[in-house]
Symmetry: C2
Subunit: 422 residues, 2 copies
């Protein structure tokens, strides 16, 4: 009988396991994901900031794997792993038995126990959240324009981004760019160029994984776009009206959360040691300790580099782990031994508005225009599909020339006109 | 003091009034719309059918009118016209006085008193509804694939489109094309090619405004895509499980409504005679009878052609009325007399899947490939903005070559992970 491999999650990790197993007719793969699409997370902030449309960076998982006959894709959420029965259980209580299991579910936002903040400060992990952020940001400008009350206008034109990692920096920079360049000529009553944008970071620096000169450059680039960086600033309260940072208070209509992530609840019921974020500490072959047929990869896992430092939660790690695991499984089915996973560090990058970025590769530091071109080439290269590459490139070129943002749509949450009778 | 012109609605009608008044510094225009975007309605069914993204056919109204200094755009919903005070009142109880008022609000869906059907049979007037329809159609295929119960699979793979006008025909044709061509290789458990699609029309024919040979051709084109046309079939009940058509019952998970529209509630409180759909019967200069400074244009109005037949509720009518009214107002401010509106009929068209359409212009009938090319050229020409033309053209070319649909995303309704505490 064919070996049954279950992959949970169609992100960079899960998808690359599946692809690496494409020429193995002797296995049956089932890929489960609660969404129907693979999402190119690194560009999600551009959907939130009205520069791209959701479909430009998301592709149906079953379309990507359409030609691969040994795989079936199901849209379902896995609730539990039954270690005894060697099966995964979905939210519809369906059970899928496996010979090998690959968990590649990624991480979720964490509000560090303040889940009531989510309502006022959406995070950025899904298309739904990106659309909600876009709606809030654009609506704030509309409401400022409508208002005749200067206090209300000021509140509407204040944006607080919490968290100074790459996502927070990219969001704050994009709001700066939108207010200073895109919106300038479109309003009569307010001046979008006077929008206040505050990037709040609890630690002593933004972009802590970058070297000091690049962090300085990033702060400078943010400031040129009207973003003020507040370090050593821990948020203590968020309401619909304001953000409390220690003793200070800022009235802001729009607050965005980019401050923390944690492993999904699925990890809680799995054995083995976990790190502070709930990620499972995996073996050198990425397997769950004690369960050589169960693997955890990508952001969901805590894996180590050769110097015993944990690998960062970024796309290249998940992608390389996926490819590695596909090769490992293929080799194992042919009776060959396992080799440990080795991460090949290609460096890191973050972008700050048009023509500005910082990149760092093995000590080679770039900033400004050159770094931005590097950022652009890398992101287009890794984007899935020729169609999406062309669409994204064209829209970037268009924005570059005109400063316009093509997806400036406020889309409501409700599609009905009549309320349903229940 | 400058004359104040209020335009309600940023569709084809309202936008063209505004544009026609661009070189008039002696007036102050305020354009109110409850949405921030102008929507190219004729292609909305392609958003619902995952061929295009919302932003490809929608543009912020304030971006379109950005360079026109005599206009300010506000996102607000008009609830009432105060004829005594000569002002419009918005849902936030703001009052905007006018010297001239242009009402161009379009129409809404009508369920003929069966508003409880909306929940089970969404209509297609807004981006929100298009996204909801896309979600339902794609989810139905996902759920059929997941199920092992043939009855459930059959229900999930049954689509009923109600209403045989251009929108219903285009929706049904697009579902047919998607199931027969786009999805064929992507599923393992079901055969999308056996999807049942039923187009239900209460009257004796689909596309009643077209001539008989073209209607026949349209039926034939629909059948080639697996759509069955049921004429003289009046829907009597819709539930989550099934559609009742007279004595007959069809179990269908997805039902779409394209059967009727009516004028917005705003019309109810305006004086003057209305037609069966609640549209106001306007004077030859498109003014409200008895109120020469208030105009009603586009779908919201019932205007007559020179043969005293009511003009159809289509984009070209609204567009020409908008341009006419802009010229009329400009002339009037210079003390010139009014001329009546004359509609220049350019004909009508509808498309049925790839390479198939029907068009009719002054007795010249086209169908098949040639009609489809005509349809394509006309729609690209009237689409707003160079950016969107390129994006739509590229995506059409891509779909044409690959049968793929680039926007096959199931996007949830909820962005939160944690439920809000109220």
């Amino acid at each position: 009988m064919n070996k049954r491999i279950i992959i949970v999650g169609g992100g960079f990790g899960g998808l690359n396991v599946a692809k690496a197993l494409r020429n193995c007719p002797e296995i049956d793969i089932t890929l489960l994901d609660r969404r129907n699409h693979h999402l190119f997370q690194p560009l999600l902030y551009q959907v939130a900031m009205a520069a791209l449309s959701p479909a430009d960076i998301a592709v149906p998982i079953r379309a990507i794997l359409s030609g691969q006959r040994n795989i079936s894709v199901l849209q379902a959420e896995v609730k539990q792993v039954d270690l005894q029965q060697q099966a995964v259980i979905t939210d519809t209580d369906d059970s899928y038995p496996f010979d090998y299991l690959v968990l590649a579910c990624g991480v979720e936002d964490s509000y560090f126990g303040h889940e009531e903040w989510e309502e006022y400060a959406p995070a950025l992990k899904s298309i739904e959240q990106a659309t909600e952020i876009r709606r809030r940001v654009l609506t704030a400008f509309e409401q400022a324009e409508q208002s005749k009350d200067p206090d209300r206008q000021k509140k509407m034109q204040t944006f607080v981004v919490i968290g100074g990692g790459p996502t927070g920096v990219e969001l704050a920079g994009a709001i700066g760019e939108m207010s200073r360049y895109t919106l300038t000529r479109d309003f009569r009553n307010i001046d979008p160029g006077l929008t206040r944008i505050i990037l709040v970071e609890a630690g002593p620096t933004i972009l802590p994984s970058f070297s000091k000169p690049l962090r300085r450059q990033a702060v400078h680039d943010l400031e040129r776009l009207g973003v003020q960086v507040w370090i050593n600033s821990r948020v203590s309260r968020i309401t619909a009206e304001e953000v409390e940072v220690g003793e200070e208070r800022i009235r802001a209509a729009t607050v965005l959360w980019a401050a923390g992530v944690r492993a999904p609840a699925l990890n809680d019921n799995l054995p083995g040691e976990k790190d502070r974020m709930g990620r499972i500490k995996v073996e050198p072959d990425l397997s769950l300790p004690g369960y050589p047929n169960i693997f955890v990869i990508g952001d969901q896992a805590h894996a180590l580099d050769p110097q015993d430092r944990p690998l960062p939660g970024i796309a290249p790690v998940a992608l390389q782990q996926g490819r590695y695991l596909g090769r490992l499984l293929r080799a194992e089915l042919q009776g060959k031994p396992r080799k440990p996973f080795r991460y090949w560090d290609k460096g890191q990058m973050a972008t700050i508005g048009k023509s500005r970025a910082v990149t760092e590769t093995h000590g080679l530091r770039l900033s400004g225009m050159l770094a931005w071109w590097a950022w652009l080439v890398v992101h287009i290269y890794y984007l899935s599909g020729f169609r999406n590459r062309i669409l994204v490139l064209f829209q970037w070129a268009w924005s570059y020339l005109t400063y316009a943002r093509g997806a400036r749509l406020i889309i409501g949450k409700e599609w009905r006109r009549f309320s349903p009778k229940r």
